[in-house]
Symmetry: C3
Subunit: 388 residues, 3 copies
């Protein structure tokens, strides 16, 4: 009530604002650029993440219900926290559809962390974790986007890397040896698998919207959707191939199909809006599908038995490692940018080399992108340790 | 065949029309302003309402199937009825995407009423009810929007209040004492609850599209989406809190989660496109979550035992009371409008104070809004009694 | 890597391109015209077709999973194949959102054929079939759209007719007498029916997006959505009526509800973007609902026992016959076009009577449309025989 007001494009004064800004048509309102993508992201957070976790036999309903609760709580807190850091103008937080998308993104990172500790915590503990994680997410995002001037439209670093390693640190601290005995709870059943496929498919289908939702208007949104589409398609094939190869009888493991097929979207999160090209996207999707599938087979049991990290839904495989890949691919793609590929004006628009960043070169940008990965990891470990 | 023609923006003559209207770009076509919202509303009516009612053990499939049938029938009749009242020009009904949305809205009110009588009626009876309810809906809508010049973009009055009290009157008249004996049919089972959550989530997620679908282009649509988003988020939290408080062991009642979380969308239906502000939306969502949850716990049993109103899905809690709240909040928000908040041109655009309504003041508008609630109630009771 | 590049509207050079083309606003990017429809089509292919086939008791999970696999594989191959035929400029395939839609469309025809052979083939065989069918689809599409200059925005001929008769030819060649013994596998169960309804509803709801996704900007997209909406609504009613009439006890057959309700969308695939008028759409939906329901009751058993065509999901009823109806309705609607109905400029825009086709008349266009049906059938039979 004290801080939040409508942004200029959602305020009834827009009629006058339009004339000042020389905008001739209502269709120029940011609402029409971003609302369809917002709705897709919204579905991903609540239906996608919620149902993805239903594959666990006993946690099924709780997964959807608690995901609903913590996400609905988180978006309100995120509107405030992100508002203070990003949309604070003359004492007020001015919100529009982009803030709604960002709030959903922020909560996405909480849903990821939730995947690691599912079955270990009470609803109240989840809300407390949400409160702190949203706060830390906003601080980390502020450091990356505003201080380091890093590009991360699909959130490989801010959402996936941060969310995954935050959740893994929390679950490490909440380690419970007895949990292993009730491991049969983690089995899956036929209908639960079909419900989980609803979650998987909606995440997979709408990921191009996720990675393009807050990109610059025009070609950047267009490009982000195409790159993500290509990466995801390639990822499905390598996942199926490797899942079949790594099983003794060549049978497909449903958990791989439900999760590893999504790694391609995570791994182009940073670079999707850049000139990664469809071919580059296919390669990234190809690699991330392999890494994630191998992770489920070898790394998750290792993490649990040796490092005492109980990763219920395997978020290290789906968000941790692909998130890191995404950050690295983003740094390389940024460093490799040239005026030849982007055009003179294109490169300025793509990396926002304006104002104080006017003199930054693509290779320097690549360095800052890499620094963003490190900062996200440190924030995740430190934050997870305290909150856990 | 006699009446319906394409509206100018869907007709092949548009190419010439554009030049006359000095429209320079195809993107100015109303299709691009409203089609994404239309699809969201479409999903709400058929998937949302259909699956929401699946939580009942035995009626599951019937709920989805009959909902499909009556909605598909209703939209055709609604296109005609609403067309005569709203889009009738020189002997023809000119339809465009806004008519499709309005037809879906109209059918939404039938789906609401269906929730009260589920399990009591045959398919043929449902079709007869649809035929009459669509007709009465169109008359009521005409009185409100055209005669009283009331604003009701999200349909708190026309859709929810009218639909709920119409359905409750019908179910009162169809009272069957024996129905109570087969009450175990109304129990819910694990997988049905997950299906019902699909309905709940799609309604919850797409409600911002519902309330903004037929608002004015530009800031009004933008604002309606933001207000609804905030109200719904707040509503989830109070629902969970009160559901937990009112149960003996503090356990959550799934029926509350599946229904009361949606009350926030109903309760900002009228005011979402106004300058309700995010804070105001949070308050409305907060209150409606409480009212609905308390309604499920105390009011539904009372209505059934004392007033012989068998409300199968609890539509009085989810649509009746929040619809009334929505009408009242709309009347207050309209009456409180000032040129300071809306801007000189903004207030004229927001309430359409043009032509014969040029001299209407916000406080008078508030009075007419309040009259709209009363008219909707009267139409619902009278219509429901006759049709029942 | 060798061929595919971003099209001008997805390339970072767009900033400069815009100035050359005198485009003043980012909203003019094709992304904003087509992306919402693309996402709806995407959901139809992966969720719609996948879950529609879940109604079969034993094949449930396989249907969703294999559909996912073959579609993800197919869209990559389709981007290349269709690119060579349609978007090949100075040695490069330039892709944009329209290519993504077309790739999904192409894969849609594979999903249709998959419905006929479900339960007969291994995943590897499916991938081989996908490889060849995508190739043949692209060739057929090239002949129709480029050589015959036929209009087929919703793909009645290229997608449905071709896909269905291709699949039926394949299943005829793969005829296995023993399959009948395990016919109980084809029974349906309660929860599977609800999952199948998810598939049905998403196909039904998003079909207006399917038929309008690649139509011309502006009125054509608008009109295609309205026509499809009307046809689908009418189709639901005739399906329910005839399903009830043809069963002995008047009970509804779930398979009819899940499938025949969609025939209306298939049958206006070619003509939806033309001036079919809402009334014409209702008639087409009315007829196709009857044909499909009658087909399920009488034709499928006949095909299996006499012609040894085992059509697991009944694609001949849902895609074959309505696809033919769609082609015929399209030919008639095109032949009946006049300047009076379309306007002087409208008729040129609607049928693209420009360049070498400047002198083509509507009646000649109707003839070519009819030729398109024949070509699609021949390609399907020949291709299916070889691939089978």
């Amino acid at each position: 009530g004290v801080f939040v007001r409508f942004g200029p494009e959602a305020d009834a004064h827009w009629e006058e604002e339009k004339q000042k800004m020389n905008v001739t048509s209502d269709i120029e309102n940011d609402f029409y650029f971003r609302y369809p993508s917002f709705q897709d992201v919204h579905v991903m957070i609540f239906v996608g993440f919620g149902f993805l976790m239903v594959f666990l036999k006993r946690y099924g309903f709780g997964a959807v219900g608690f995901n609903f609760l913590l996400a609905a709580f988180g978006i309100q807190w995120a509107l405030l926290m992100q508002g203070w850091f990003h949309s604070f103008k003359s004492g007020k937080i001015l919100i529009g559809v982009e803030n709604l998308i960002n709030a959903d993104f922020c909560v996405g990172s909480v849903c990821i962390a939730f995947g690691a500790i599912l079955g270990k915590t009470s609803p109240i503990q989840l809300l407390v974790m949400t409160l702190f994680q949203v706060t830390l997410f906003s601080v980390n995002e502020y450091i990356l986007l505003n201080l380091l001037h890093v590009k991360d439209a699909g959130g490989s670093m801010t959402i996936h890397t941060f969310g995954a390693y935050f959740g893994l640190t929390v679950t490490r601290i909440l380690y419970r040896p007895n949990l292993e005995q009730s491991k049969d709870k983690q089995g899956s059943v036929y209908h639960s698998d079909l419900f989980a496929m609803i979650g998987t498919l909606y995440l997979w289908l709408y990921w191009p919207s996720f990675n393009s939702a807050i990109s610059e208007h025009g070609d950047a949104q267009h490009r982000a959707a195409i790159n993500t589409y290509c990466s995801l398609a390639a990822c499905v094939l390598t996942t199926v191939a490797f899942s079949s190869m790594l099983q003794k009888k060549g049978k497909l493991d449903m958990v791989h199909i439900q999760n590893a097929t999504l790694a391609g979207g995570v791994a182009v999160g940073t670079s999707a809006e850049m000139m990664l090209t469809p071919y580059g996207s296919l390669i990234v999707g190809f690699i991330s599908g392999i890494v994630t599938t191998v992770g489920y087979v070898y790394l998750t049991p290792f993490l649990e038995s040796r490092l005492h990290i109980q990763d219920t839904c395997g978020i290290h495989n789906l968000h941790g490692m692909p998130g890191l890949i995404g950050g690295i691919v983003g740094a390389i793609t940024a460093a490799a940018a040239t005026e030849d590929i982007y055009g003179k004006e294109g490169i300025i628009k793509a990396f926002d080399f304006t104002g104080p960043y006017q003199t930054r070169t693509p290779s320097v940008q690549g360095g800052f992108q890499a620094a963003g990965i490190v900062v996200s990891l440190l924030m995740a470990f430190a934050g997870g340790a305290i909150v856990g």
